[in-house]
């Protein structure tokens, strides 16, 4: 990673090198952006894939009010005041989101939730949260994408479609990338794809294994048994759609490769069995370490969702679904995960930072969100922002705001903004809310103790 360089070419354009694309978990940090300063637009995004190009080239700052309160335009100060009032008066506020913002903002968000005694959860809980739970149970054999690129000679994609969700995954890291010990690129690697259907990722694979819908766990379990030299029930083909010979062939390949990697997606972590599916694939990788070096790692979608896990773990000791009602962190997915807390009607207020649960949560959860005061921080007028009491417009991270983001393998990458924005960053807004809530809580404490004294005197 060389330092970002800005070169002014003509009077009205500039180039930003080594910029980072935040669209997906690949977090490519080799973008060369050409910016038309007068038009306030990005005109070229060299090295970006289709999705990255769409992110950069279609970027346009919408002319929105700084804040909306009950749908009516308001100033930033009014928005912050209203948000602070909501949080000060809430007993069980839910803080959710954090996938599309910087680690710096995430960190402030954790400080805020700690102060108000709320609950914090990130979009991890609706993608690879189960993987986090599995990690806790069975551990993880892992590596960075750089190591995988240089060493892996057997790459298995399971339950994910990187060709469409992480377009440069193949070229940068695992299939056609040139590595230290894989100089002949794809010729030096065997690529396997396991999925319930053929996807756009299937054509890169040398071997495609189609598993029956809902039988991933059984297939993984059978593979684990074969790796350990145990018997497998004879009806396994009927159950999983995969013949015993295919399994045995895969097991031999896995045991005899030099360096194997299992990349898994939401096809495992978000289908029936969830954390057990993730635990099964992580355990398979551990089992294989008896024979060779094997790792398993989730493919994370959103830009900085890994960062949310990192920051929340670093600050609270747990990756997501953390509650501060009692003043200390408590972790319990199912109890403190946002979908569950909204669907059960537990939360009495919400702060949504850089996510749009209003578009993908269950109807029960959305119905409850409509009933309680919600605060939304987002550059766009999202579904959630439309049903919020306070919606504050913020700048785009990665384009307008710098900071840190974590790649899906846990490597921190610096963002290099290229355009200025009139809107504040998420971090600035959260800091402002924090400051105001601090004052309000102090005042609340004072009146409470004064009331107590008066009551005692009476």
């Amino acid at each position: 990673m060389s330092a970002a360089t800005e070169t002014k070419t003509e009077a009205n354009t500039k180039t930003v090198e080594n910029a980072t694309c935040t669209f997906c978990g690949c977090l490519c940090d080799d973008m060369v952006l050409t910016v038309d300063v007068d038009a306030h637009k990005i005109t070229k995004a060299k090295n970006a894939c289709v999705l990255g190009k769409a992110l950069f080239l279609s970027h346009e700052e919408e002319d929105r009010p700084f804040a909306l309160i009950d749908g009516k335009p308001a100033t930033l100060k009014e928005g912050v005041e209203e948000a602070a009032q909501i949080l000060t008066n809430a007993r069980f506020p839910m803080f959710y989101g954090m996938s599309d913002t910087t680690c710096e903002a995430q960190r402030q968000n954790v400080a805020l939730v700690d102060m108000v005694g709320g609950t914090i959860d990130s979009t991890t809980s609706v993608c690879h949260g189960p993987t986090g739970m599995a990690l806790q149970g069975v551990g993880e054999s892992t590596a960075t994408l750089g190591e995988i690129k240089n060493r892996a000679d057997l790459v298995i994609y399971w339950g994910g479609n990187p060709a469409e969700s992480l377009p440069r995954h193949f070229a940068r890291y695992a299939v056609t990338a040139k590595g230290m010990y894989t100089p002949r690129r794809k010729k030096d690697r065997t690529i396997v794809n396991v999925d319930v259907r053929r996807t756009k990722s299937t054509p890169v694979a040398d071997i495609f294994i189609q598993v029956k819908i809902g039988a991933d766990f059984e297939l993984l379990w059978a593979l684990r048994a074969l790796v350990k030299g145990r018997k497998v029930a004879p009806d396994i083909e009927k159950r999983t759609g995969v013949s015993l010979e295919t399994m045995q062939d895969l097991v031999e390949r896995m045991k005899n490769c030099r360096y194997g990697v299992l990349f898994f997606g939401m096809g495992l972590s978000m289908t029936r069995g969830r954390h057990f599916n993730a635990a099964a694939i992580l355990s398979l990788a551990s089992d294989l370490n008896e024979y060779t070096h094997f790792i398993a790692t989730p493919m994370r979608g959103h830009g900085n969702v890994s960062g949310a896990d990192m920051v929340v773990s670093w600050q609270t000791g747990y990756p997501f679904a953390v509650n501060f009602s009692r003043g200390y962190p408590k972790f319990n997915p199912g109890e403190f995960t946002a979908t569950d807390m909204f669907a059960r009607g537990d939360a009495d207020a919400g702060l949504i930072l850089a996510a749009d649960p209003g578009s993908n949560f269950s109807q029960y959860a959305i119905d409850h969100m409509k009933k309680i005061p919600m605060i939304v921080l987002d550059p766009k007028l999202t579904h959630t922002a439309k049903l919020a009491k306070v919606a504050i417009t913020t700048s785009h991270y990665g384009i307008n705001t710098g900071g840190t983001a974590y790649r899906s393998d846990g490597v921190p990458i610096e963002l290099r903004p290229c355009l200025e924005s009139k809107y504040p960053s998420d971090e600035e807004v959260i800091r402002a809310i924090y400051k105001r809530v601090e004052q309000l809580l102090k005042a609340k404490k004072k009146t409470k103790s004064a009331n107590n004294k008066r009551r005692k005197a009476a």
Partner: protein
């Protein structure tokens, strides 16, 4: 006469109520009991704020009203009795080591997690994670009994080491997952992937169940111990058929990925 707590107003958000426990309330007068702390979200309140406290504390507590938002009732309880007239919230009887909790209606998720003794009876349905370990924990229930008359959710008896969990209705997926020992009896139908990674222990079901590919069929027989268990459950009020007491069961052993010393007994005829 027992101690009676009658709900005055419904909480707006869940309440953590580990004070509602015979061990805590025993020997206190009504005023002291009313002053015990409860946690209403992030705010500390008192028992008296939510409940009318009457009767006398003699080791038995009666909870009246809709208490479905009260969590952790009977936390670490070692003796006495809690009678819950309505439904109860999450974590009822957490870390309990003795005494009895009877829930007249439904219980939410996490009934008796990591309990080591005593008995919990739920007359209605229970949620997920009945008698389990908390996330990150290695060992779940180490003793005691949980009897649910209705249905229960996923992961019943996750990593339990000892004790008995009986479900009168159906259970969800991963029943008895990672069991180290102990007994889980489901009178209805179990979900998917039961007994995954179990080391020892027994899972019993009266309905057909699909076993994981790592379980092997052993034989069909009449296990003696099961008669005792079923009679015991009949005494506890579950509708146990004579055919189940006298019948024979298919025995599957597994999970071969773990120790292969566990068993699943599926009612045959």
């Amino acid at each position: 006469m027992s101690l009676k707590l009658t709900l005055k107003k419904k909480p707006s958000v869940p309440v953590e109520a580990e004070s509602i426990c015979p061990d805590v309330m025993e020997g206190l007068d009504l005023k002291q009991i009313a002053a015990l702390p409860l946690h209403h979200g992030n705010e500390q309140v008192t028992v008296g704020d939510f409940f009318k406290v009457t009767g006398k504390s003699n080791g038995e507590i009666r909870l009246e009203g809709d208490t479905s938002r009260f969590k952790m009732v009977g936390d670490s309880m070692s003796r006495g009795r809690i009678l819950i007239k309505g439904s109860i919230g999450q974590h009822v009887g957490v870390h309990m080591s003795g005494g009895e909790i009877i829930v007249a209606k439904n219980a939410s998720d996490w009934v008796g997690p990591e309990m080591s003794g005593g008995r919990i009876i739920v007359k209605g349905n229970a949620g997920h994670m009945v008698g389990c370990a908390y996330r990150g924990g290695q060992v779940g229930v180490t003793g005691g009994e949980i009897i649910v008359h209705g249905n229960a959710g996923n992961e019943i008896g996750n990593t339990m080491r000892d004790g008995l969990i009986a479900i009168g209705g159906n259970s969800g997926d991963f029943t008895g997952v990672g069991m180290l020992a102990g007994t889980v009896i489901v009178l209805g139908k179990m979900g998917w992937r039961n007994g995954a990674a179990m080391k020892r222990g027994t899972i019993v079901s009266m309905e057909d169940a699909e076993m994981l590919p790592t379980f092997t069929y052993a034989c069909s027989y009449r296990p003696n111990f099961l008669r005792l268990y079923l009679r015991h459950l009949r005494d506890a009020g579950l509708p146990i058929k004579d055919a189940w007491i006298n019948g024979s069961y298919h025995r599957w052993s597994g999970d071969s990925i773990a120790l292969n010393r566990g068993e699943a007994l599926i009612f045959d005829r």
